[in-house]
């Protein structure tokens, strides 16, 4: 009898194409997602060496980081460097024959939303992309993580990555969530608990009743931020929710192949008694709607709390918190719910899916955003946008005073014109509150879509439960 295995062990073993004596492996990559920012140097490297893309049929490209999200984007990209990057991807996708969703395609969107939506991401696969939020795809029980541009070139050329196995970490969220608490609160709460380096060297498997109860959209939100906790990847074992989501998608298997696939996917779970090197358990009922107050995703507190003092921390964190509070323009002791907001951003690969827009629209329905508030919704893909229009969500946003944008990464990282001005304070559904992340000097508070919608209405950080 073989030793019990974790889900990660199983996926890892199924993808080792070569193992050297020192344990270094060539891990086979089933899906390689590509965007315009981290790929041009990799394609250029292939050209210089006279190499081809080994598996263009497993390589999917879409521009997302630089693309304008204003309704007039068909006129082209004003910023010359951004335009050159997107044009480079157009050309590279064509020259190397990979699957491509150009800006003009309704299926275009954020790479981590397009992959699952089109059925490219499936359980048990290895998925990589030159983007740290590739962790998103772990929601399907696929081993998915970000890579650098040199590794992008390596995968393009060999369809493998040079890897050593990570350790196993289990994050269990037990029981039920309370009303107003979402997948975003779970994932932020976990990072608050473990710290941004708590997952370094590990692949996390999220499990427990509260995780099982999540939709695929919610699971993607949880796994998306595994990287913010330092983990190589986050995983959730596939189940009926997963199969239902995948079934019928453009690139999901059909007919007999579907049945074979599901039979295999049903073997993808952690065996009873399998070893985890680290275990974190959080009670679902203990999780509150949370926001970040600082400049690291670990700076998380329930919305009912107050801005902490540097003296509440130890070691290097004391100076880091001093710096954060100064950057964020916050005073120790201020109630988080008294912090005034200038801007609201709803979107990103963390929270730009249909369920996120539904959650925000449910809070906004029949209401208006505060006078002077700048608020935008940037759907994660053209198809999310179309569905939201069909469901009437777009009208709710527009009537509330939100800008209704086209799909892209937008203000999550502000590579396109959607940026914060110095000192501008934003309630954001994205994933990083780093200094300058949304624009130089911009101040970011991370939260769930419902919380962001609530902040848009009141003009300050707000407990969404008061508006439900």
């Amino acid at each position: 009898m073989t030793a019990p295995k974790t889900l990660y062990d199983k996926i890892w073993e199924a993808h080792v194409a070569h193992k050297s004596e020192d344990g270094t492996c060539l891990l086979y990559i089933d899906r390689h997602l590509v965007h315009e920012v981290t790929s041009p140097q990799a394609f250029e490297g292939l050209r210089m060496a006279g190499r081809k893309v080994r598996a263009p049929e497993k390589t999917i490209a879409v521009p997302d980081h630089n693309v304008p999200t204003t309704l007039d984007r068909a006129k082209g990209i004003d910023n010359e460097e951004s335009r050159i990057q997107v044009e480079a991807l157009d050309k590279n996708a064509k020259d190397f024959g990979v699957h491509y969703y150009p800006v003009s395609d309704v299926r275009q969107g954020i790479v981590h939303i397009v992959g699952p939506e089109q059925g490219w991401t499936l359980p048990g696969m290895t998925v990589v992309c030159g983007d740290s939020h590739t962790a998103t795809h772990g929601a399907f029980g696929s081993l998915a993580h970000g890579i650098g541009t040199s590794e992008v070139e390596h995968v393009l050329a060999t369809q493998t990555l040079i890897q050593k196995k990570s350790k196993n970490m289990k994050v269990e969220i037990t029981g039920k969530l309370r009303p107003g608490v979402t997948a975003k609160d779970i994932t932020l709460c976990v990072i608050g608990e473990t710290g941004t380096a708590g997952g370094t060297g590990y692949v996390i498997e999220y499990c427990g009743e509260a995780i099982r109860d999540l939709s695929m959209e919610g699971r993607m939100t949880v796994c998306n931020m595994a990287i913010e906790g330092g983990a190589r990847a986050g995983l959730i074992a596939p189940d009926e929710t997963t199969y239902q989501y995948c079934n019928g998608r453009a690139h999901a298997p059909k007919g007999a192949k579907w049945d074979t696939a599901v039979a295999y996917w049903k073997t993808l779970f952690t065996d009873e008694g399998a070893n985890f090197d680290k275990v974190v358990t959080i009670k679902g009922e203990d999780i509150a709607p949370v926001v970040t107050w600082g400049t690291s995703p670990e700076d998380v507190l329930p919305i009912t709390a107050a801005v902490p003092s540097p003296n509440d921390f130890d070691g290097g964190k004391v100076d880091a918190v001093k710096r954060s509070l100064e950057y964020m323009g916050l005073q120790t002791g201020t109630q988080l719910s008294d912090i005034m907001i200038d801007t609201v951003f709803i979107g990103s690969c963390t929270n730009g899916r249909i369920e996120d827009l539904r959650a925000a629209a449910a809070i906004l329905k029949g209401k208006k955003i505060k006078d002077g508030m700048r608020a935008m919704v940037v759907p994660g893909s053209g198809l999310v946008r179309a569905q939201a229009e069909e469901e009437g969500l777009a009208d709710i946003f527009k009537e509330a005073g939100f800008e209704w944008r086209l799909a892209g990464c937008s203000m999550c990282l502000a590579m396109n014109p959607d940026q914060l001005a110095p000192g501008e304070r934003c309630a954001a559904t994205s994933n990083r509150n780093f200094e300058g992340r949304q624009g130089r000097g911009g101040r970011t508070h991370l939260m769930s879509p419902g919380m962001a919608a609530a902040a848009a209405i009141t003009g300050k950080l707000t407990d969404v439960r008061e508006l439900m």
Partner: protein
């Protein structure tokens, strides 16, 4: 890739924890389609004010640290994005080695692909090297990858761990794509097997 064998250089102290990739190279500089020329924008928002003038207090703007080849950093250096522009900028500035108690995973891997050696040491040793770095150009830290040692300016020798394969590639300046392509047969065998049992992949 450039080889990394030995280095004796000035180290810049950056004790702040969680120095993220957005600090190392802000996104406005990710629009390049080249790997070179990013050194001038390394730590851009910490290094220059809104008008583009140098901020004199920032470590790499101080005369004694302008030629730093090493950074001694606080915990969890390089957290955040997968952007290889971060090590490209570090290398382009002239830094060849970063020493910390911990690094973010993707950044750590990216360093090795670019001839930069990231060294993980226990906190007490990083603290000691941080003190060394504070001495400015009077203190040179020495690194010898072959025997895996860091030597402080006072002659304290510290051993560090490094993955054998990564060490081999750094010492010899090897392109790992060529090495992996030598194993094409194994990759092909794998592909054939999977096409049979998992035809949907």
């Amino acid at each position: 890739m450039d080889k990394f064998t030995e280095l004796s250089g000035i180290a810049a102290p950056m004790p702040l924890i969680n120095i993220d990739t957005d600090m190392i190279i802000p996104k406005v500089f990710l629009k390049t389609i080249k790997r070179s020329g990013l050194g001038v924008n390394l730590f851009d928002e910490m290094r220059y004010d809104n008008d583009g003038n140098e901020i004199p207090d920032f470590v790499l703007n101080k005369p004694q640290y302008r030629n730093s080849e090493i950074i001694v950093a606080g915990d969890n250096f390089g957290c955040g994005s997968s952007r290889e522009h971060a090590p490209w900028a570090i290398k382009d500035f002239g830094i060849r080695c970063v020493i910390s108690t911990s690094f973010a995973d993707i950044f750590f891997n990216n360093c090795f692909k670019n001839g930069i050696l990231p060294i993980v040491l226990p906190k007490e040793q990083v603290d000691l090297l941080m003190q060394d770095a504070e001495k400015g150009s009077n203190a040179r830290i020495q690194i010898d990858l072959a025997i895996q040692t860091v030597t402080s300016s006072d002659g304290v020798v510290m051993k560090f761990e490094v993955d054998n394969f990564k060490k081999h590639c750094l010492l010899n300046g090897l392109d790992d794509i060529s090495l992996s392509l030598e194993k094409s047969d194994s990759i092909e065998t794998y592909e054939t097997k999977v096409a049979d049992i998992h035809p949907w992949v």
